[in-house]
Protein backbone atom coordinates (compact mmCIF):
# COMPACT_ATOMS: atom_id res chain seq x y z
CA UNK A 1 0.00 0.00 0.00
CA UNK A 2 1.07 3.56 -0.70
CA UNK A 3 2.19 5.18 2.54
CA UNK A 4 2.47 8.87 1.68
CA UNK A 5 3.10 10.15 5.20
CA UNK A 6 5.75 7.71 6.40
CA UNK A 7 7.62 9.00 9.39
CA UNK A 8 5.08 11.67 10.38
CA UNK A 9 3.90 11.62 13.96
CA UNK A 10 0.19 12.36 14.27
CA UNK A 11 -1.53 12.97 17.61
CA UNK A 12 -4.95 11.31 17.74
CA UNK A 13 -7.46 12.83 20.16
CA UNK A 14 -10.68 10.82 20.25
CA UNK A 15 -12.79 9.38 23.06
CA UNK A 16 -14.78 6.74 21.20
CA UNK A 17 -12.86 3.45 21.27
CA UNK A 18 -14.19 2.02 18.02
CA UNK A 19 -13.51 5.27 16.19
CA UNK A 20 -10.02 5.32 17.72
CA UNK A 21 -9.34 1.90 16.19
CA UNK A 22 -10.69 3.01 12.83
CA UNK A 23 -8.58 6.18 12.77
CA UNK A 24 -5.49 4.37 14.05
CA UNK A 25 -5.83 1.94 11.14
CA UNK A 26 -6.40 4.75 8.65
CA UNK A 27 -3.38 6.69 9.94
CA UNK A 28 -1.20 3.57 9.99
CA UNK A 29 -2.27 2.74 6.41
CA UNK A 30 -1.10 6.22 5.40
CA UNK A 31 2.26 5.58 7.05
CA UNK A 32 1.75 7.83 10.08
CA UNK A 33 3.01 6.97 13.53
CA UNK A 34 0.10 7.54 15.89
CA UNK A 35 0.81 9.53 19.05
CA UNK A 36 -1.79 8.74 21.70
CA UNK A 37 -4.66 8.25 21.46
CA UNK A 38 -5.66 10.83 24.02
CA UNK A 39 -9.24 10.75 25.21
CA UNK A 40 -9.29 13.88 27.39
CA UNK A 41 -8.02 17.44 27.26
CA UNK A 42 -5.45 16.93 30.02
CA UNK A 43 -4.11 13.74 28.48
CA UNK A 44 -3.72 15.48 25.13
CA UNK A 45 -2.02 18.54 26.66
CA UNK A 46 0.45 16.27 28.47
CA UNK A 47 1.26 14.47 25.21
CA UNK A 48 1.76 17.76 23.38
CA UNK A 49 4.30 18.74 26.05
CA UNK A 50 6.08 15.40 26.08
CA UNK A 51 6.05 14.18 22.48
CA UNK A 52 7.25 15.31 19.08
CA UNK A 53 4.13 15.88 16.96
CA UNK A 54 3.85 16.84 13.28
CA UNK A 55 0.06 17.09 13.09
CA UNK A 56 -3.06 16.23 15.04
CA UNK A 57 -6.55 14.85 14.46
CA UNK A 58 -8.81 16.36 17.07
CA UNK A 59 -12.28 15.24 18.12
CA UNK A 60 -14.17 18.31 19.37
CA UNK A 61 -16.39 16.83 22.04
CA UNK A 62 -14.46 14.59 24.41
CA UNK A 63 -17.09 13.07 26.63
CA UNK A 64 -18.62 16.51 27.18
CA UNK A 65 -15.29 18.36 27.37
CA UNK A 66 -14.57 20.67 24.42
CA UNK A 67 -11.16 20.18 22.88
CA UNK A 68 -10.50 23.88 22.13
CA UNK A 69 -7.68 24.15 24.75
CA UNK A 70 -5.88 21.39 22.81
CA UNK A 71 -6.35 23.37 19.59
CA UNK A 72 -4.88 26.42 21.36
CA UNK A 73 -1.85 24.48 22.57
CA UNK A 74 -1.22 23.02 19.11
CA UNK A 75 -1.63 26.39 17.38
CA UNK A 76 0.73 28.00 19.89
CA UNK A 77 3.39 25.46 18.93
CA UNK A 78 2.70 25.77 15.22
CA UNK A 79 1.46 22.19 14.96
CA UNK A 80 -1.20 21.90 12.23
CA UNK A 81 -4.37 20.02 13.09
CA UNK A 82 -7.78 19.06 11.77
CA UNK A 83 -10.99 18.84 13.77
CA UNK A 84 -12.76 15.52 13.39
CA UNK A 85 -16.37 15.82 14.46
CA UNK A 86 -19.91 14.64 14.01
CA UNK A 87 -21.01 18.24 14.48
CA UNK A 88 -21.60 20.50 11.56
CA UNK A 89 -18.85 23.04 10.88
CA UNK A 90 -21.31 25.85 11.73
CA UNK A 91 -21.48 24.70 15.33
CA UNK A 92 -17.75 25.38 15.88
CA UNK A 93 -17.05 28.31 18.18
CA UNK A 94 -16.26 31.65 16.54
CA UNK A 95 -12.57 31.86 15.86
CA UNK A 96 -12.18 28.15 15.13
CA UNK A 97 -14.12 27.96 11.89
CA UNK A 98 -11.08 28.78 9.78
CA UNK A 99 -9.44 25.50 10.77
CA UNK A 100 -9.95 22.41 8.62
CA UNK A 101 -12.75 20.06 9.63
CA UNK A 102 -13.37 16.44 8.72
CA UNK A 103 -17.01 15.67 9.27
CA UNK A 104 -17.42 12.19 10.74
CA UNK A 105 -17.80 9.66 9.31
CA UNK A 106 -15.17 10.23 6.64
CA UNK A 107 -13.29 8.17 4.08
CA UNK A 108 -9.58 7.52 4.44
CA UNK A 109 -9.06 9.46 1.19
CA UNK A 110 -10.52 12.57 2.88
CA UNK A 111 -8.16 12.11 5.83
CA UNK A 112 -5.29 11.63 3.40
CA UNK A 113 -6.15 14.79 1.42
CA UNK A 114 -6.39 16.82 4.64
CA UNK A 115 -3.10 15.50 6.00
CA UNK A 116 -1.47 16.31 2.67
CA UNK A 117 -2.54 19.94 3.12
CA UNK A 118 -1.40 20.00 6.75
CA UNK A 119 1.95 18.29 6.29
CA UNK A 120 3.38 19.40 2.97
CA UNK A 121 5.34 21.50 2.79
CA UNK A 122 5.87 21.27 6.50
CA UNK A 123 7.19 24.73 7.33
CA UNK A 124 4.63 26.78 5.37
CA UNK A 125 1.75 24.67 6.66
CA UNK A 126 2.78 25.29 10.25
CA UNK A 127 3.09 29.01 9.55
CA UNK A 128 -0.25 29.26 7.80
CA UNK A 129 -2.00 27.69 10.77
CA UNK A 130 -0.36 30.27 13.01
CA UNK A 131 -1.39 33.05 10.68
CA UNK A 132 -4.99 31.88 10.59
CA UNK A 133 -4.93 31.61 14.34
CA UNK A 134 -3.48 35.08 14.78
CA UNK A 135 -6.25 36.60 12.66
CA UNK A 136 -9.02 34.73 14.39
CA UNK A 137 -10.53 36.44 17.46
CA UNK A 138 -10.21 33.71 20.06
Amino acid sequence: MNRPFSGHRVLLVEDEMLVVWLLEDMLADLGCAVVGPASSVNQALAMIDAEAIDAAVLDINLNGQMSYPIAEALAARGVPFVFSTGYDKDTLLDGYRAFPVLQKPFHHSELSATLAKLLTPREPSAKSVMAVNAEAPL
Binding site: W21, L22, D25, T85, D88, D90, K104, P105, H107
Partner: protein
Protein backbone atom coordinates in the same frame (compact mmCIF):
# COMPACT_ATOMS: atom_id res chain seq x y z
CA UNK B 1 -33.54 73.46 26.47
CA UNK B 2 -36.25 75.01 24.32
CA UNK B 3 -36.85 71.82 22.37
CA UNK B 4 -37.33 69.89 25.60
CA UNK B 5 -39.84 72.48 26.70
CA UNK B 6 -41.68 72.35 23.39
CA UNK B 7 -41.71 68.57 23.54
CA UNK B 8 -43.04 68.63 27.02
CA UNK B 9 -45.79 71.00 25.89
CA UNK B 10 -46.67 68.60 23.10
CA UNK B 11 -46.46 65.82 25.60
CA UNK B 12 -48.83 67.64 27.91
CA UNK B 13 -51.25 68.18 25.04
CA UNK B 14 -51.07 64.51 24.06
CA UNK B 15 -51.60 63.42 27.63
CA UNK B 16 -54.61 65.64 27.89
CA UNK B 17 -55.91 63.88 24.76
CA UNK B 18 -55.61 60.61 26.64
CA UNK B 19 -57.42 62.17 29.57
CA UNK B 20 -60.21 63.20 27.26
CA UNK B 21 -60.40 59.59 25.93
CA UNK B 22 -60.63 58.49 29.48
CA UNK B 23 -63.68 60.69 29.94
CA UNK B 24 -65.30 59.84 26.59
CA UNK B 25 -64.43 56.16 26.43
CA UNK B 26 -64.23 55.23 30.11
CA UNK B 27 -64.68 51.45 29.97
CA UNK B 28 -62.47 51.08 26.90
CA UNK B 29 -59.60 52.90 28.52
CA UNK B 30 -59.91 50.72 31.60
CA UNK B 31 -59.89 47.68 29.30
CA UNK B 32 -56.79 48.95 27.48
CA UNK B 33 -55.05 49.62 30.76
CA UNK B 34 -55.71 46.21 32.22
CA UNK B 35 -55.73 43.82 29.24
CA UNK B 36 -53.03 41.18 29.12
CA UNK B 37 -52.00 42.45 25.67
CA UNK B 38 -49.10 44.90 26.08
CA UNK B 39 -49.93 48.15 24.27
CA UNK B 40 -48.88 51.77 23.90
CA UNK B 41 -50.08 54.88 22.08
CA UNK B 42 -47.55 57.21 20.50
CA UNK B 43 -47.84 60.80 19.37
CA UNK B 44 -47.71 60.96 15.56
CA UNK B 45 -47.13 64.71 15.57
CA UNK B 46 -43.60 64.28 16.94
CA UNK B 47 -40.92 62.79 14.69
CA UNK B 48 -39.63 60.36 17.29
CA UNK B 49 -43.07 58.94 18.20
CA UNK B 50 -43.02 59.64 21.94
CA UNK B 51 -45.19 57.41 24.12
CA UNK B 52 -48.31 59.05 25.46
CA UNK B 53 -49.94 55.96 26.94
CA UNK B 54 -48.59 52.62 28.14
CA UNK B 55 -50.74 49.96 29.74
CA UNK B 56 -49.89 47.80 32.74
CA UNK B 57 -49.00 44.75 30.66
CA UNK B 58 -46.56 46.76 28.61
CA UNK B 59 -44.89 48.15 31.74
CA UNK B 60 -44.51 44.70 33.23
CA UNK B 61 -43.17 43.31 29.93
CA UNK B 62 -40.61 46.10 29.53
CA UNK B 63 -39.81 46.40 33.24
CA UNK B 64 -40.29 50.18 33.45
CA UNK B 65 -42.45 52.44 35.58
CA UNK B 66 -45.02 54.47 33.70
CA UNK B 67 -43.28 57.83 34.26
CA UNK B 68 -40.04 56.38 32.88
CA UNK B 69 -41.53 55.63 29.47
CA UNK B 70 -44.11 58.37 28.92
CA UNK B 71 -42.55 61.00 26.70
CA UNK B 72 -39.73 58.68 25.62
CA UNK B 73 -39.31 57.91 21.94
CA UNK B 74 -40.48 54.57 20.61
CA UNK B 75 -36.90 53.77 19.55
CA UNK B 76 -35.80 54.17 23.17
CA UNK B 77 -37.51 50.86 23.88
CA UNK B 78 -35.46 49.04 21.30
CA UNK B 79 -32.46 49.70 23.47
CA UNK B 80 -28.82 50.24 22.72
CA UNK B 81 -27.86 47.75 20.03
CA UNK B 82 -30.97 48.35 17.90
CA UNK B 83 -29.46 48.01 14.45
CA UNK B 84 -30.21 50.32 11.53
CA UNK B 85 -32.40 47.58 10.05
CA UNK B 86 -34.61 47.49 13.13
CA UNK B 87 -34.88 51.29 13.24
CA UNK B 88 -35.68 51.45 9.52
CA UNK B 89 -38.36 48.79 9.99
CA UNK B 90 -39.98 50.75 12.81
CA UNK B 91 -39.81 54.00 10.84
CA UNK B 92 -41.26 52.40 7.70
CA UNK B 93 -44.12 50.93 9.72
CA UNK B 94 -44.94 54.28 11.37
CA UNK B 95 -44.81 55.91 7.94
CA UNK B 96 -47.26 53.31 6.65
CA UNK B 97 -44.85 52.25 3.91
CA UNK B 98 -44.33 48.76 5.24
CA UNK B 99 -46.58 45.98 6.51
CA UNK B 100 -47.80 46.90 9.96
CA UNK B 101 -46.59 43.89 11.90
CA UNK B 102 -43.06 42.66 12.45
CA UNK B 103 -40.84 40.93 14.99
CA UNK B 104 -38.25 42.90 16.83
CA UNK B 105 -35.88 42.64 19.79
CA UNK B 106 -36.48 45.03 22.71
CA UNK B 107 -34.47 45.78 25.83
CA UNK B 108 -35.98 45.79 29.26
CA UNK B 109 -34.91 48.35 31.81
CA UNK B 110 -32.61 45.75 33.42
CA UNK B 111 -30.81 45.22 30.10
CA UNK B 112 -32.32 41.82 29.36
CA UNK B 113 -33.92 41.42 25.95
CA UNK B 114 -37.17 40.06 24.66
CA UNK B 115 -38.50 39.39 21.19
CA UNK B 116 -41.94 40.72 20.46
CA UNK B 117 -44.33 40.60 17.56
CA UNK B 118 -45.35 44.24 17.13
CA UNK B 119 -48.49 45.48 15.47
CA UNK B 120 -48.68 49.22 14.69
CA UNK B 121 -51.81 50.91 13.49
CA UNK B 122 -52.46 54.65 12.80
CA UNK B 123 -55.23 56.60 14.52
CA UNK B 124 -56.79 59.30 12.35
CA UNK B 125 -58.57 62.48 13.36
CA UNK B 126 -61.75 63.74 11.70
CA UNK B 127 -59.72 65.37 8.92
CA UNK B 128 -58.06 62.03 8.14
CA UNK B 129 -54.65 63.03 9.49
CA UNK B 130 -52.65 60.55 11.52
CA UNK B 131 -52.52 61.94 15.04
CA UNK B 132 -51.43 58.91 17.02
CA UNK B 133 -50.26 55.36 16.59
CA UNK B 134 -51.41 52.37 18.50
CA UNK B 135 -48.82 49.62 19.02
CA UNK B 136 -49.40 46.23 20.59
CA UNK B 137 -46.77 43.67 21.56
CA UNK B 138 -46.88 39.90 21.87
CA UNK B 139 -43.97 38.54 23.88
CA UNK B 140 -42.23 35.93 21.75
CA UNK B 141 -39.55 35.03 24.31
CA UNK B 142 -41.01 31.62 25.04
CA UNK B 143 -41.54 30.94 21.36
CA UNK B 144 -37.95 31.95 20.54
CA UNK B 145 -36.64 29.88 23.43
CA UNK B 146 -38.53 26.87 22.13
CA UNK B 147 -37.18 27.48 18.64
CA UNK B 148 -33.60 27.72 19.98
CA UNK B 149 -34.11 24.58 22.01
CA UNK B 150 -35.47 22.76 18.98
CA UNK B 151 -32.47 23.84 16.91
CA UNK B 152 -30.16 22.68 19.69
CA UNK B 153 -31.89 19.29 19.86
CA UNK B 154 -31.75 18.91 16.11
CA UNK B 155 -28.01 19.76 16.04
CA UNK B 156 -27.46 17.24 18.83
CA UNK B 157 -29.49 14.60 17.02
CA UNK B 158 -27.53 15.22 13.81
CA UNK B 159 -24.29 14.96 15.74
CA UNK B 160 -25.34 11.68 17.31
CA UNK B 161 -26.51 10.27 13.99
CA UNK B 162 -23.15 11.14 12.42
CA UNK B 163 -21.28 9.63 15.36
CA UNK B 164 -23.41 6.50 15.17
CA UNK B 165 -22.66 6.18 11.47
CA UNK B 166 -18.96 6.65 12.26
CA UNK B 167 -19.27 3.83 14.80
CA UNK B 168 -21.03 1.63 12.22
CA UNK B 169 -18.18 2.39 9.83
CA UNK B 170 -15.64 1.49 12.52
CA UNK B 171 -17.42 -1.75 13.48
CA UNK B 172 -17.65 -2.78 9.84
CA UNK B 173 -14.01 -2.05 9.16
CA UNK B 174 -12.88 -3.88 12.29
CA UNK B 175 -15.17 -6.83 11.58
CA UNK B 176 -14.36 -7.15 7.90
CA UNK B 177 -10.70 -6.20 7.92
CA UNK B 178 -8.85 -9.19 6.54
CA UNK B 179 -12.00 -11.33 6.49
CA UNK B 180 -13.81 -10.02 3.42
CA UNK B 181 -12.40 -8.97 0.09
CA UNK B 182 -11.44 -5.33 -0.18
CA UNK B 183 -14.02 -4.57 -2.85
CA UNK B 184 -16.85 -5.60 -0.54
CA UNK B 185 -15.44 -3.58 2.34
CA UNK B 186 -15.01 -0.50 0.12
CA UNK B 187 -18.53 -0.84 -1.27
CA UNK B 188 -20.00 -1.07 2.22
CA UNK B 189 -17.98 1.88 3.50
CA UNK B 190 -18.88 3.97 0.46
CA UNK B 191 -22.60 3.40 1.02
CA UNK B 192 -22.41 4.29 4.71
CA UNK B 193 -20.52 7.48 3.84
CA UNK B 194 -23.01 8.43 1.11
CA UNK B 195 -25.86 7.96 3.58
CA UNK B 196 -24.05 10.07 6.15
CA UNK B 197 -23.37 12.87 3.65
CA UNK B 198 -27.05 13.01 2.78
CA UNK B 199 -27.95 13.04 6.48
CA UNK B 200 -25.50 15.81 7.16
CA UNK B 201 -26.90 17.92 4.32
CA UNK B 202 -30.46 17.37 5.56
CA UNK B 203 -29.38 18.17 9.10
CA UNK B 204 -27.95 21.52 8.00
CA UNK B 205 -31.30 22.31 6.37
CA UNK B 206 -33.19 21.28 9.55
CA UNK B 207 -34.72 18.28 7.77
CA UNK B 208 -36.91 20.52 5.65
CA UNK B 209 -36.05 20.50 1.96
CA UNK B 210 -32.67 20.44 0.23
CA UNK B 211 -31.60 21.41 -3.25
CA UNK B 212 -30.87 18.79 -5.89
CA UNK B 213 -27.64 20.59 -6.74
CA UNK B 214 -26.46 20.33 -3.13
CA UNK B 215 -27.17 16.59 -3.15
CA UNK B 216 -25.23 16.17 -6.40
CA UNK B 217 -22.36 18.27 -5.00
CA UNK B 218 -22.12 16.28 -1.78
CA UNK B 219 -22.24 12.86 -3.37
CA UNK B 220 -20.23 13.37 -6.53
CA UNK B 221 -17.45 15.52 -5.13
CA UNK B 222 -15.33 12.48 -4.14
CA UNK B 223 -15.74 11.28 -7.75
CA UNK B 224 -14.18 14.45 -9.17
CA UNK B 225 -17.29 16.59 -9.72
CA UNK B 226 -15.39 19.83 -9.25
CA UNK B 227 -12.02 18.61 -10.47
CA UNK B 228 -10.66 21.60 -12.37
CA UNK B 229 -7.99 19.56 -14.13
CA UNK B 230 -10.42 17.22 -15.87
CA UNK B 231 -14.02 18.15 -16.56
CA UNK B 232 -15.72 14.78 -16.20
CA UNK B 233 -19.17 15.95 -15.23
CA UNK B 234 -21.63 18.37 -16.69
CA UNK B 235 -24.62 19.24 -14.53
CA UNK B 236 -27.51 21.17 -16.06
CA UNK B 237 -30.97 22.02 -14.81
CA UNK B 238 -32.88 24.62 -12.81
CA UNK B 239 -32.53 23.72 -9.19
CA UNK B 240 -35.42 21.92 -7.49
CA UNK B 241 -36.21 21.35 -3.81
CA UNK B 242 -36.28 17.78 -2.59
CA UNK B 243 -38.15 16.34 0.37
CA UNK B 244 -35.84 14.54 2.85
CA UNK B 245 -36.83 11.05 1.72
CA UNK B 246 -36.32 11.86 -1.96
CA UNK B 247 -32.99 13.54 -1.15
CA UNK B 248 -31.74 10.45 0.71
CA UNK B 249 -32.86 8.15 -2.11
CA UNK B 250 -31.28 10.28 -4.83
CA UNK B 251 -28.05 10.54 -2.82
CA UNK B 252 -27.83 6.75 -2.62
CA UNK B 253 -28.72 6.47 -6.30
CA UNK B 254 -26.03 8.94 -7.42
CA UNK B 255 -23.53 7.16 -5.21
CA UNK B 256 -24.34 3.77 -6.78
CA UNK B 257 -24.18 5.15 -10.32
CA UNK B 258 -20.89 6.95 -9.68
CA UNK B 259 -19.35 3.91 -7.97
CA UNK B 260 -20.36 1.77 -10.91
CA UNK B 261 -18.97 4.35 -13.33
CA UNK B 262 -15.68 4.38 -11.42
CA UNK B 263 -15.43 0.59 -11.61
CA UNK B 264 -16.77 -0.20 -15.06
CA UNK B 265 -18.06 2.95 -16.77
CA UNK B 266 -17.18 6.47 -17.77
CA UNK B 267 -14.95 7.14 -14.75
CA UNK B 268 -12.93 3.93 -15.16
CA UNK B 269 -10.64 4.74 -18.06
CA UNK B 270 -8.63 7.86 -17.36
CA UNK B 271 -9.86 11.19 -18.64
CA UNK B 272 -11.79 10.09 -21.73
CA UNK B 273 -15.10 9.33 -20.04
CA UNK B 274 -17.77 11.87 -19.24
CA UNK B 275 -21.03 11.98 -17.34
CA UNK B 276 -23.82 14.37 -18.28
CA UNK B 277 -26.52 14.98 -15.71
CA UNK B 278 -29.48 16.95 -17.02
CA UNK B 279 -32.97 17.52 -15.74
CA UNK B 280 -36.12 19.52 -16.38
CA UNK B 281 -39.05 20.04 -14.08
CA UNK B 282 -42.43 20.82 -15.60
CA UNK B 283 -46.06 20.87 -14.54
CA UNK B 284 -48.11 17.81 -15.45
CA UNK B 285 -51.67 16.76 -14.58
CA UNK B 286 -50.08 14.86 -11.66
CA UNK B 287 -48.29 17.97 -10.35
CA UNK B 288 -44.71 19.09 -11.02
CA UNK B 289 -42.61 16.26 -12.37
CA UNK B 290 -38.86 16.12 -12.89
CA UNK B 291 -37.18 14.09 -15.61
CA UNK B 292 -33.54 13.54 -14.81
CA UNK B 293 -31.04 11.83 -17.09
CA UNK B 294 -27.63 10.42 -16.13
CA UNK B 295 -25.76 9.75 -19.35
CA UNK B 296 -22.30 8.22 -19.47
CA UNK B 297 -20.10 8.35 -22.55
CA UNK B 298 -16.48 7.81 -23.53
CA UNK B 299 -16.00 4.89 -21.15
CA UNK B 300 -15.09 1.35 -22.17
CA UNK B 301 -17.75 -0.54 -24.19
CA UNK B 302 -20.66 -1.37 -21.93
CA UNK B 303 -21.62 -4.98 -21.34
CA UNK B 304 -24.73 -6.08 -19.55
CA UNK B 305 -23.80 -7.22 -16.05
CA UNK B 306 -24.27 -10.97 -15.64
CA UNK B 307 -25.82 -10.75 -12.22
CA UNK B 308 -27.83 -7.97 -10.68
CA UNK B 309 -25.92 -6.70 -7.68
CA UNK B 310 -27.16 -4.63 -4.77
CA UNK B 311 -26.49 -1.46 -6.76
CA UNK B 312 -28.81 -2.18 -9.66
CA UNK B 313 -31.43 -3.64 -7.32
CA UNK B 314 -31.27 -0.45 -5.28
CA UNK B 315 -31.48 1.74 -8.36
CA UNK B 316 -34.29 -0.04 -10.17
CA UNK B 317 -36.30 -1.41 -7.31
CA UNK B 318 -36.09 0.31 -3.96
CA UNK B 319 -35.45 3.85 -5.09
CA UNK B 320 -38.25 4.01 -7.63
CA UNK B 321 -40.58 3.25 -4.76
CA UNK B 322 -38.94 5.71 -2.35
CA UNK B 323 -38.99 8.45 -4.97
CA UNK B 324 -42.62 7.76 -5.82
CA UNK B 325 -41.49 7.68 -9.43
CA UNK B 326 -39.84 5.60 -12.10
CA UNK B 327 -36.19 4.73 -12.57
CA UNK B 328 -34.91 3.14 -15.78
CA UNK B 329 -31.38 1.85 -15.99
CA UNK B 330 -30.11 1.03 -19.50
CA UNK B 331 -26.76 -0.43 -20.44
CA UNK B 332 -26.47 1.29 -23.81
CA UNK B 333 -23.27 0.57 -25.77
CA UNK B 334 -22.11 4.22 -25.55
CA UNK B 335 -22.55 4.30 -21.81
CA UNK B 336 -24.90 3.65 -18.92
CA UNK B 337 -28.08 5.72 -18.98
CA UNK B 338 -30.26 6.20 -15.94
CA UNK B 339 -33.54 8.06 -16.28
CA UNK B 340 -35.62 9.16 -13.34
CA UNK B 341 -39.12 10.57 -13.39
CA UNK B 342 -40.34 11.81 -10.03
CA UNK B 343 -42.55 14.44 -8.42
CA UNK B 344 -40.74 17.61 -7.21
CA UNK B 345 -41.37 21.13 -6.06
CA UNK B 346 -40.06 23.64 -8.56
CA UNK B 347 -39.16 26.64 -6.37
CA UNK B 348 -35.49 27.44 -6.71
CA UNK B 349 -34.90 29.12 -3.37
CA UNK B 350 -35.69 28.20 0.18
CA UNK B 351 -38.68 30.02 1.61
Amino acid sequence: MPSEERKSKAQTAAESDVDSFRKDLGPFVVAAETTRMAMVFTDAKEANHPLIFANDSFLSLAGYDREEVLGQSFDFLLGRPAGPDALAQVEATFAGSSKNDFEICFHRKDGSTFWAAVFISPILDKAGDVVQHFASFVDLSKHKEEQDHLRFLLAELNHRTQNTLATVQAIAMQTLRGAANKEVVDAFEGRILALSKAHSLLGRKLWETVSLRDVIDQILQPFGLNDRRVARFSVEGDDVRLQPKAALSLAMLFHELATNAAKHGALSNGAAGKIDITWQAAPTPLGDQMRLRWQESGGPPVTLPGRKGFGSRLIEGGLAQDLDGQVHLDYEPVGVVCQIIMPVRREAEEP
